[in-house]
């Protein structure tokens, strides 16, 4: 790019300078040369004129030797020219060059043609300024100047009687000047002009090149590098251009631009960061939801499997228990061994039944879509489920339900399962004989309203050292074959899922009270 701009400027400027130099050369040098040439022809004419006048007397007197001497003397005097006197017939009568004597010039030579046209007509020209140039090969050119010698009355009346009285022209005086010196001078002048011109051109070109490089190319390169950086996305670059010209203001404009871009980029990065944080948070939420969903799905499929297994197993278990019990009734009481064996069959079948019940209870930790529950109704439902079971035949249920407890948000069937678990535990703890008091009430804690459900049994209570452990999975105090240790753990999970809490109060020997607190959501 630098070369291109500089080259363009150099070429166009050089062409301009060349044209200027040519005009200069033509206007001054060429014209001066012309002037010198004119001067040379004029000098030649004067020289011939002087020679004619100087030999006039001797011509009149017909002093041939003196004339020849005079001519030869001109050469000796330093005149660089050959002077010839030629008669009208073309014979060289006198010459400063002795070798010419006796020779003649051909009738078609330039001197003759000056007056004698090709068709024989005679054109007499002004005889004062006749000259022409002759090229003589390697000797350079020569200037030939001539004047005719007109016939005068004194010529024909002279004592020698050489010239007839009726002739117009008696002869011609010709001078042949060598132009080699002058031409050499011209050549030298032209060469000087050429060399000086080239030096001048070169100086201008170099100066211009340096100036353009410093003032234009260098700033352009700096700006171009800066723009490349912007193109690559780097906006931290500042141009160091101090010039107070157009390129300087371009540099300042660039600096302003990168400043704006930096600010914009920072802002954009800030926004991008904020956005990616939001995205990250959202994706965390999505992952959490997905995890929960997968967990729920797992529970649901486990629940479906358990329900189907339970349904299949309930019928054969019915058969085992019923027939073992019927058989047991037929075995005489004194046959203790058979009685005990049959009791084991019934016990083990009941254990299977309990395991199924717990499995189904566990599958109930899956929340259903119906999230509207009535606590008092849930208690009635749980009692309905249990009332026909033999272990509740001797359990007195005392209900003290607060009808003002509102409907709550939650899965009623899950809460029913919790109540069933607590009631079965109570019955088991009392050896299936005793009293269970069920109470509901509402209360306010801080600003939050809760519904409380209390199950108090008349059993032996729970030892203080076990109070912390009873909600742990697989912890059971029931006899071998009776409990799975999952009932309370599952119940705790259900209550906590509903946003509530479950806890127990017990004094040894005075029964146990289980409390469930569920939040009342104000709409």
């Amino acid at each position: 790019m630098r070369n291109t701009v500089n080259l363009k400027i150099m070429v166009s400027l050089s062409a301009l300078l060349m044209v200027g130099a040519l005009i200069f050369w033509y206007k001054f040098i060429f014209r001066a040369n012309e002037e010198m040439l004119v001067k040379a022809t004029e000098d030649a004419a004067y020289t011939i004129e002087i020679i004619r006048n100087s030999i006039r007397y001797n011509m009149m007197s017909n002093h041939s030797e003196v004339i020849q001497n005079t001519l030869e003397n001109t050469t000796e005097a330093g005149l660089h020219a050959i002077i010839r006197v030629i008669d009208h017939n073309g014979n060289i009568k006198f010459s400063s060059n002795k070798n010419d004597l006796g020779k003649s010039i051909p009738p078609d030579s330039m001197i003759c043609k000056e007056c004698h046209a090709a068709d024989g007509k005679i054109i007499l020209k002004d005889t004062g300024r006749n000259f022409f140039f002759v090229e003589k090969g390697s000797h350079g050119r020569t200037l030939k100047s001539f004047i005719p010698v007109k016939n005068e009355s004194s010529c024909s009346t002279a004592a020698c009687h050489v010239h007839a009285p009726d002739a117009t022209i008696n002869g011609i005086i010709e001078a042949e000047f060598s132009m080699s010196r002058l031409d050499r001078k011209f050549k030298e002048n032209n060469l000087d002009v050429l060399i000086l011109g080239i030096i001048f051109l070169a100086l201008i070109a170099v100066t211009l090149y340096l100036l353009v490089s410093k003032l234009v190319i260098k700033p352009i390169i700096i700006i171009s590098e800066g723009i490349k950086m912007v193109t690559r996305g780097y906006y931290g670059h500042t141009l160091d251009i101090r010039a107070n010209d157009e390129l300087g203001s371009l540099g300042h404009a660039y600096n302003d631009m990168t400043k704006e871009l930096r600010a914009g980029k920072n802002e954009l990065e800030e926004k991008t960061r904020a956005l990616s944080e939001i995205m990250e948070q959202k994706s965390r939420e999505v992952r959490k939801t997905q995890k929960q969903y997968m967990y729920t799905e797992k529970l649901a499929s486990l629940g479906r499997m358990a329900a189907s297994v339970a349904h299949e197993l309930n019928s054969p278990l019915t058969g085992i228990i019923v027939f073992a019990r019927l058989f047991l009734k037929r075995v005489p009481l004194e046959n203790k061994a058979d009685q005990d064996d049959l009791k084991v069959i019934v016990e083990q079948a009941e254990k299977c039944s309990n395991i199924i019940a717990v499995l189904l209870g566990y599958s109930r930790t899956i929340p259903s879509d119906n999230l509207d529950m009535d606590i008092n109704k849930a208690i009635d439902n749980a009692l309905n489920i249990l009332k026909n079971q033999a272990r509740f035949y001797n359990v007195l249920i005392e209900k003290d339900l607060d009808p003002s407890v509102p409907r709550l948000q939650g899965d009623q069937s899950q809460i029913e399962q919790v109540f069933i678990n607590l009631l079965i535990n109570a019955s088991d703890a009392m050896n299936n004989k005793g009293k269970v008091i069920i109470r509901t009430r509402r209360f306010t804690e801080d600003v939050n309203e809760f519904a409380e459900v209390e199950f108090t049994d008349s059993g032996p209570g729970i030892p203080i050292e076990n109070l912390d452990k009873i909600f742990e999975p697989f912890y059971t105090t029931k006899p071998e074959g009776k409990g799975t240790g999952l009932g309370l753990a599952v119940s705790k999970g259900i209550v906590q899922n509903a946003g509530g809490r479950i806890f127990v109060k017990s004094k040894g020997g005075e029964g146990a009270s289980f409390f469930i607190h569920l939040p009342i959501n104000k709409v």
Partner: protein
């Protein structure tokens, strides 16, 4: 008094036989049916004092059966047998007109209790 007629509908053979054996020990006359349609035919041809039915059977929804029977025989005592894990179904069947229900598996004593009419829920049961 014990010579009451009972119809048991259940698609499981062992459940039907169990019910029959338990109820017969207490003097009931027991008819068995493995499908709802057969059961309804029997009910139309004979009079029964008690219907003991499963809730989930292949050919007809147990609740539909309940409604149908309750419409046709308003005074018939109906006891529903359910498996574990169907607490809602048990309570719903009470709402739809069943008189009582029992969970499978059950003890012979439990079955006899729900079969008898007018019994109190919390009677003393001694071993």
């Amino acid at each position: 008094m014990r010579n009451k007629k009972v119809l048991v509908i259940d698609d499981e053979y062992i459940v039907r036989v169990s019910c029959k054996r338990v109820l017969e020990t207490d003097g009931y006359t027991v008819s068995l049916s493995s499908s709802v349609s057969d059961g309804i035919k029997l009910m139309e041809s004979e009079g029964f004092d008690l219907l003991l039915t499963d809730l989930i059977m292949p050919e007809m929804d147990g609740f539909e059966l309940l409604k149908l029977v309750r419409d046709k025989w308003p005074s018939l005592r109906i006891v529903v047998m359910t498996g574990y894990g169907t607490n809602e179904a048990a309570n719903k069947s009470l709402e739809l007109g069943a008189d009582d229900f029992i969970k499978k598996p059950f003890l012979p004593e439990e079955l006899l209790l729900v079969a008898g009419t007018g019994q109190k829920n919390y009677v003393h049961y001694g071993e």
